[in-house]
């Protein structure tokens, strides 16, 4: 049995407290009136370079938006010149009008929410995909990974915690607690409103708040039910004389994976693609899955290395680590493949209604957008292609950290442009959100791990896994 060390527990709680304070500071320092925004903007202008960059950006934006509007008009889609950033076009044309101030106010108010959301989404998806990977291992009757099952189950133990926060977040968002989803704003589907957006109105069957909220709750509750059952039968199997629970879990795994492949795509459409409601990409659901999958494998490897270093996983040898690192390597390439496929196809065809997505990221997020390629692709490939390296815990930890940073940036660049636009930053509120979830993650995961023996001893493949050597 694992003993949750008090040192680690206190660190986890400290992270949560520090994170929480930072999050509160983030919310408290967000402006609440347009006057404050005007002041902030004036301050930005006074800094020569930034002001200049800002102005250039604005022009670029305006061009891109005008083009889209033009194109859509040609195509016979009659709607206002709204684009990804639904409220931006006219505002920019008139410079810093009241409209613009209101827009920037929303963006600045969004910032602590978006920072919180990036971390929330990242941790939720990593956790659920760890659980998906556990089920893939079960269903595939893998013979190597049984000794890691309790680690994966422990990480999945974070799911209920993060799901509760997610559901609260969904409810707050649905009841206009923030402006993250522009399509939820009042009047977007009302033809008489100044806020009317015909494209969104046409998608009303999907983009409507009740449907969005209920679906979101169904995904999360559904995943939790599967996790609960899976864990229950896994523990029952430990002391069972037969394989009844094992077979039950096998079936639960199959059902979960079938459920997950659909709900994963749908949740990504709801929670990420919906932030840019004019934009669409068929690949997007799988692309986000790839991000979460690499991160999930990395997290499994890191928790394993930690537990092993504390002497809790005697039967785990460097062949197990080698296998995990191979997965990290392989799926880093897979992520890059999907990233490139999506980017290249949109770049190649250059259809304005899709290209705006990358134009905005190139204009406002260039450093992060391009920076994640070396982090997520080049470094992991170079470091993990060597099979000796894959067996060294320090290297796996090092590359794992790079991978996690890179994929956090990936989620950041997915969420921020549609919510805070060019008003993004990386400061207290962003860091605090990460720390809060990291603390909660450590607390929940190691609490779950400490509740059951570290070896799933009833599994029929355990013997193979214990003697696994590659």
């Amino acid at each position: 049995m694992y003993q949750f060390s008090s040192k680690l527990k206190i660190s986890a709680i400290a992270l949560m407290v520090v994170g929480l304070i930072g999050i509160i500071i983030g919310f408290a320092s967000a402006p609440s009136t347009e006057a404050e925004v005007a002041e902030i903007l004036a301050h930005q202008e006074s800094h020569g370079t930034h002001g200049e960059a800002h102005a250039t950006k604005e022009v670029a934006h305006h061009d891109a938006h005008a083009e889209v509007a033009h194109e859509n008009h040609h195509e016979g889609v009659k709607h206002d010149a709204h684009t990804v950033d639904a409220h931006e076009t006219e505002a920019h044309a008139e410079g810093h009008s009241d409209h613009h101030l209101a827009h920037v106010l929303h963006q600045l108010q969004n910032r602590p929410w978006a920072a919180f959301y990036v971390a929330l989404f990242f941790f939720t998806f990593v956790t659920i995909v760890v659980f998906a990977f556990l089920n893939i291992q079960r269903v595939a009757q893998a013979g190597w990974s049984i000794v890691l099952f309790r680690v994966m189950e422990g990480i999945s133990g974070f799911l209920p915690y993060v799901s509760v926060i997610f559901i609260v977040f969904l409810v707050i968002t649905a009841f206009h607690g923030n402006h993250l989803f522009v399509w939820m704003a009042d009047g977007t589907v009302d033809p008489t409103s100044a806020n009317y957006d015909e494209l969104i109105a046409n998608k009303q069957a999907w983009l409507n708040t009740p449907r969005w909220l209920i679906s979101g709750i169904i995904y999360l509750v559904g995943w939790n039910v599967f996790r609960y059952l899976n864990r229950k039968y896994s523990l029952l199997q430990d002391n069972a004389g037969d394989l009844v629970n094992y077979y039950k879990n096998y079936k639960i795994g199959v059902a979960f994976l079938a459920f997950f492949i659909f709900t994963e795509s749908m949740s990504v459409w709801d929670w990420i693609m919906g932030l840019d409601p004019h934009w669409f990409s068929t690949l997007f659901g799988w692309y986000v899955l790839a991000t979460a999958l690499v991160s999930a494998l990395t997290v499994i490897a890191m928790v394993t290395v930690y537990l092993k270093s504390k002497g809790y996983l005697e039967v785990v040898n460097n062949s197990h680590l080698h296998d995990l690192a191979k997965f990290m390597f392989g799926f880093s390439i897979f992520w890059s493949y999907l990233w490139f496929a999506q980017f290249m196809l949109i770049w190649y065809a250059d259809m304005p209604e899709e290209t705006v997505y990358f134009v905005q990221r190139f204009d406002d997020y260039k450093f992060l957008f391009l920076g994640m390629i070396p982090l997520n692709f080049i470094l992991p490939v170079l470091m993990l292609v060597n099979s000796d390296f894959k067996r060294i815990p320090q290297i796996v930890l090092g590359v794992g950290t790079i991978i996690l940073v890179g994929h956090y940036i990936d989620v950041f660049v997915m969420i921020m442009p549609g919510t805070v636009g060019d008003q993004w930053g990386f400061g207290i509120t962003e860091i605090a959100s990460i720390l809060f979830f990291l603390g909660l993650f450590i607390y929940a995961v190691f609490t779950t791990i400490s509740k059951a023996p570290l070896i799933a001893k009833g599994n029929p493949f355990l013997h193979e896994s214990e003697h696994f050597h590659y």
Binding site: E75, V77, K203, A258, S265, T282, L283, L345, H463, E464
Partner: protein, 466 residues
Amino acid sequence: MSSHYEAPIREPLVLGEKSYHDITMDIVKPIEGKANKNWYIAFTIALIAFLWGVGCILYTIGTGIGVWGLNKNIGWAWDITNFVWWVGIGHAGTLISAVLLLFRQKWRMAINRSAEAMTIFAVFQAGLFPLIHMGRPWNGYWVLPIPNQFGSLWVNFNSPLLWDVFAISTYLSVSLVFWWTGLLPDFAMIRDRAVKPFQKKIYALLSFGWSGRAKDWQRFEEVSLVLAGLATPLVLSVHTIVSMDFATSINPGWHSTIFPPYFVAGAIFSGFAMVQTLLGIMRKVSNLESYITRLHVEYMNIVIMVTGGIVAVAYASEFFIAWYTGSPYENYTYMSIGAATGPYGWAFWSLILFNIAIPQLLWIQKVRRSFIMSFIISIAINIGMWFERFDIIAIVLSKGHLPSTWTRFEPTFVDVGVFVGTIGFFFVLFLLYARTFPVIAQAEVKTIMKSSGEHYKQLRDGKNEH
């Protein structure tokens, strides 16, 4: 992986009380024996189909591409449909030999040789289409970036059709090398057994002097692993590039970012279906029931289910996003209400029936483990995946941006004849292969006999609990 610890609940992969010698005998029997009447009948039919196809190809080249049913709006139809279909079929071979090797799937060993042969013969067929669908195939070599007397006029590297040239030719070469490397120990075995001087000579040439020393085996294993590691991204990229022939365009229905992984999933789906079809026959006619067992069939069916599920999610995504774009042009793409109710509704519904509905039967274990049902379902998927490519190509082109260009495609007998010809050619090659090549990698099967053979499993279960 240490075989002594294999879990008792794993089912055996080699049935019966086989010794190493039995495996050899079972595998060389078709090569050392004489072909029976059925083989000659099948071969003759395939040969006639092939020759008919050659006639159609010569007729096309001699007369002009206008003998096909293409028109000025639908410039691609059966030609590229068949091309993508054949390339897709070819993918399962590499998947079985490379991806399943990376995942240490022992059941791969009984089927990899034939799957790779299938890959190579299918890529041959696929490779025909890019050549014969050209208006001026004799200028085909212009696709290669070779220095020339036109002021060194080169190709434009921006076209996915050029990427296709590189993808397919690389794929064929790597698959061929991978396959041949694996054949060396098996050819050597036939060489060592051959009594007729001519046969001995041939297999001595084919086996490159393989003598099976420890050092050779060590390098053999390393090369296999490296090639598997290279072939896996290759297999993904090849069909990705094929998918980009469509996805880089601006045609509604073609321009879709999901195409790369979705085409790959579809390729595995259709390729495995073809392996299932071929091995369903082969295990019977070549008496390989002990090696290609019910378990192999079930595992292949599970792969078919998984990739079929991925394809189903992709269809759902295509359908949803087509609506979600809000673009009226997306109402006529291959996955839309317009397609389901339009003039090609029958093709749309064939796709749904053969690819989505029928494979769901595989959820039932009885069906999954039934040879005859697996055979029938695999044929259905082969048909369904042909329709998928046809739908993507022809339905999308039949209703483009301008209603004044809306038209239909009707194949002529030449379109059909060329396709039939490639099927004939494929079977000519495959039937010849089945008589002259070791259809199961005996060297590999021998490595799992003691860990996964039925007889040895029984011995182990008798001796100790684990």
